[in-house]
Amino acid sequence: MSLSMTRPARIAALRPGPVMLRLLALLGALLLVFALLLGERLFNATAVRSMAFQLPELGILSLAMMIPLLSGGLDLSIIATANLSALAMAFVFTHLGAGQAGMMALACDVAALASGFAVAAAIGLLNGYVIAYLGVSPILATLGSMTMVKGIAIGLTHGNVISGFPAGIVFLGNGSVLGVPMALIVFVLVALPVAVIIGRTPLGAIIAMCGSNQEAVRFSGIDTRRVVLRIYLLSALLSAVAGLVMMARFNSANAAYGESYLLVTILAAVLGGIDPAGGFGKVGGLVMALVILQLISTAANLLGMSQFLTLALWGAILLAVTGVGRLADWLRLRLP
């Protein structure tokens, strides 16, 4: 798609679309309101840094949700996958890695990461197989795998936490380089390739086209089943990265961390302009939506409002943004 674009088309693609404009307007309005209400308390290094520490978890999970959404699917198992792969990593870290030094410690770190990603890949392939080859709807397939994967995590750990990791892992969650939190760097390192895959590669174009009309994609000679398999594999691997970041931030792994994020990732993606029916969406929009959600959360916290009011505000913002869009469409039809 992007490969054969003419020069004007390429420039048009860089211009912010209506979704981006709406999000920019919303961000501007929010910044203005919060600047008047909070001023210095929000716009200082500490507050901005705390935002930068909190955003990556939800951010990476939202990326994991975004790819299936783009294809017209959904992955409810992302949190469960993140937790089970974090537990797998934590198990290897604490059982093999303890007391090791030098090359052996490094080898154990690699083994831990590899086992976590292997677990995630297995879940992703299972989801992909059930959805693509057995024809189960994505919601149901991932609802089943979510319950099962979480069940395995609970069964193995009895709901307990695994904690105590090497300094490198703790640094990943809580350290910073030149003032930039490591977690944010990980988020950028993950978001950029995803943005490139979705926006600039044939695979990304096919994923979005599957969201528009899977039948048509198949009739044009593309094995959509393999594409779907890859979508859920990618989603699971991104979940594993999120699991790693969560584990590093809490310095522990558990079967039930981050469960409240599940439906919020869908909100973030839809707010960011990803069509829940599939076909349209950009990583840039998602990142804007994440910044907006995080800004509301931090400001609400500074204003002494309950975290649950933040939850309500998030829901209301999504409905309001969609409502404004519909109103604009309606006015455009009625007014000359």
Binding site: G135, G151, G159, V264, T310, A312, G315
Partner: protein
């Protein structure tokens, strides 16, 4: 009649019935307590809340929509009804009116948003789940209500049978609620004009609109009904738990969805039956109860539940695809 019998034998419900009967029979033989009256009554009581919600959700799924917000709706209705009940003597009718009224109001709110925003129902109801639940937790500060009025906790129970050990068996509110929810849903879907319209809307929304079905008004009824059932179910749950906590129900919405889907309802709409839904609820209830009675550590119970859901939806999908293949061959 014979044709009807043959049709039933090939249906999803028939196979599900077979699975439930085999599972029930196995558990009755393998464990001494499964088939006891006490255990069955307990099963009925503890699954009344999710069973009632499943009946409401079935209507939404048949119409081709989905509702995720009903646990938040139930929490709001429950908290409001019980708060009022603690401050003034409003009686059963008053409690039911508040629960059902508030529940349907929130359901109508969903329907209006779905109709005007033209956003898919799953997204709207995820947003309203957060909205309702967030506001409830904010307003109540998460405080639980520990003391409920005596007439509410002890009422609506009629002892019908006392066994040799002096254990009393009674017709209770959860049982009445379950029967009411499923009977009302069966009448709505199978015995009313509205039910035919709901199936039509779920099978093909465009065609339904063209033949003159008022889609917006029908959606008001469908999501309002889901809210009404959620409001009533929340009262049953409050009596069963003997306390109200604003965060006890949210998070169970996907379990209810799993039960309805196991019962054969399709997420694409137009398919689903009350009998199938009852069997879906029973299957999950038997499974969890049975694993416990068989001595499987309770930690492993969610894993088995997940595996059963995954296998069941896979079998359903394979069967549906085979049927489509058959139709295609016939028409070719």
């Amino acid at each position: 009649m014979r044709e009807m019998g043959r049709g039933f034998a090939r249906s999803h419900e028939a196979r599900l019935l077979l699975v439930v009967v085999v599972l029930g029979g196995f558990l009755a033989l393998a464990t001494p307590s499964f088939a006891s009256l006490q255990n069955l009554v307990d099963l009925l009581t503890s699954n009344a809340f999710s069973g009632m919600l499943a009946a409401g959700l079935l209507v939404v799924l048949v119409s081709g929509g989905i509702d995720i917000s009903f646990t938040a709706t139930a929490s709001v209705a429950q908290y409001a009804a019980m708060t009022v009940a603690n401050h003034s003597h409003i009686g059963w009718l008053g409690v039911a009116a508040i629960g059902a009224g508030l529940g349907s109001l929130l359901g109508l709110f969903n329907a209006v948003l779905i109709g005007t925003l033209r956003l898919s129902s799953i997204i709207v109801t995820i947003a309203t789940l957060n909205l309702f639940y967030g506001l409830l937790m904010f307003v109540t500060r998460g405080d639980e209500i520990f003391a409920l009025p005596d007439w509410f906790v002890n009422g609506a129970s009629w002892t019908v049978y006392t066994d040799a050990q002096q254990a009393e068996y009674a017709i209770t509110l959860p049982m009445l609620g379950l029967v009411f929810a499923f009977a009302l849903t069966a009448i709505l879907l199978k015995r009313s004009n509205i039910g035919r319209q709901v199936y039509a809307l779920g099978s093909n929304a465009d065609a339904a609109a063209r033949v003159g079905i008022p889609v917006f008004r029908l959606n008001l009824l469908i999501y309002g009904y889901m809210g009404l059932i959620a409001g009533l179910a929340s009262l049953v749950q409050a009596q069963n738990a003997q306390s109200v906590s604003p965060n006890a129900l949210v998070g169970r919405e996907l379990d209810v969805l799993a039960a309805v889907v196991l019962g054969g309802a399709s997420l694409t709409g137009g398919v689903g039956s009350v009998f199938g839904t009852i069997l879906g609820v029973m299957l999950l209830a038997f499974l969890q109860n049975g694993l416990l009675l068989l001595g499987v550590p309770s930690y492993w119970s969610p894993c088995f539940t997940g595996a059963v859901i995954l296998v069941a939806v896979s079998l359903l999908a394979i069967e549906r695809r085979r049927q489509q293949g058959r139709v295609r061959r016939v028409s070719a």
